[in-house]
Amino acid sequence: MNSSKSNLFLIELILGIMFFAVIAAVCIELFSASYKMEENSSYMAVAVNEASNVAEVARNSGFDNMDAYRDILGMTVESDKAVKTNEYGLTSTITQSLEDENTYNILITDEEEQQVYSLLVKRDR
């Protein structure tokens, strides 16, 4: 009698552990997807803010006053672009459009150089 109860309990325990393992695997998948999604959304929000900051300078001064990018935004100014990497690892780059010299392309990329956000802004003449 006792032996059969122990066997039953053992089977139940094993089934319980298997059930828990399956549920845990599914939940870990969901938690990791949530974490990744939260990370993407925070990157997106930061990228939009960064792009807006750069766009506000670009629409007022274009590339006539490159010092503004360095002084106001703390960007590294090169001959044809200005670049800045923030604490999130997002890199903001502003370049002049090839089609229109008054249009500027602002590109925000992540650490793997994948595009997070981009914005086209025209300079106010």
Binding site: N2, K5, L8, F9, E12, L13, L15, G16, I17, F19, F20, I23, A24, V26, C27, L30, F31, A33, S34, Y35, M37, E38, N40, S41, S42, M44, A45, A47, V48, A51, S52, A55, R59, N102, T103, Y117, L119, L120, V121, K122, R123, D124, R125
Partner: protein
């Protein structure tokens, strides 16, 4: 039957208080079924928490995408205003739609630069109260 003293001896009615050997039942601390119930409860908790977590993350992501789209709409409208200003005379009021609910207005200043840029609501915003379920 009388004894040698001429009376009947009393019957021995004494019964020793001997308890019957009862079967000793051993009860385990965890009964059969408790483990299953606990596992179902823990599993349900995990599933509910992860679903809430995912729902919150999806909401945040949707908000970020919405914000990015609105930013794009704003700068697209701004770029249109810049083009309009280059062909307008000084002092003219120009406007263009940002989206269905907002428009971007500006005054053309000297050298065709935009002045007094502002976003105005053109329609009443109505909150979306619909639920994302089958209708």
């Amino acid at each position: 039957m009388y004894n040698s003293y001429g009376f009947e001896p009393a019957k021995n009615t004494y019964k020793p208080d001997i308890k019957e050997d009862k079967e000793v039942k051993t009860r385990s601390a965890v009964n059969i079924g408790t483990v299953s119930m606990m596992m179902v409860f823990i599993g349900l908790c995990l599933v509910v928490l992860s679903a809430l977590c995912l729902s919150s993350a999806r909401g945040d992501y949707a908000l970020s995408v919405k914000m990015a789209n609105h930013n794009n709409e704003y700068y697209e409208a701004y770029n249109i205003l810049v083009d309009m200003a280059s062909e307008a005379s000084a002092g003219a009021q120009i406007e263009t739609a940002v989206n269905d609910y907002q428009q971007l207005k500006a005054t053309v200043g000297k050298d065709n630069r935009l002045e007094d840029i502002r976003v105005e609501n053109i329609d009443l915003w109505e909150s979306d109260l619909s639920l994302p379920v089958m209708q």
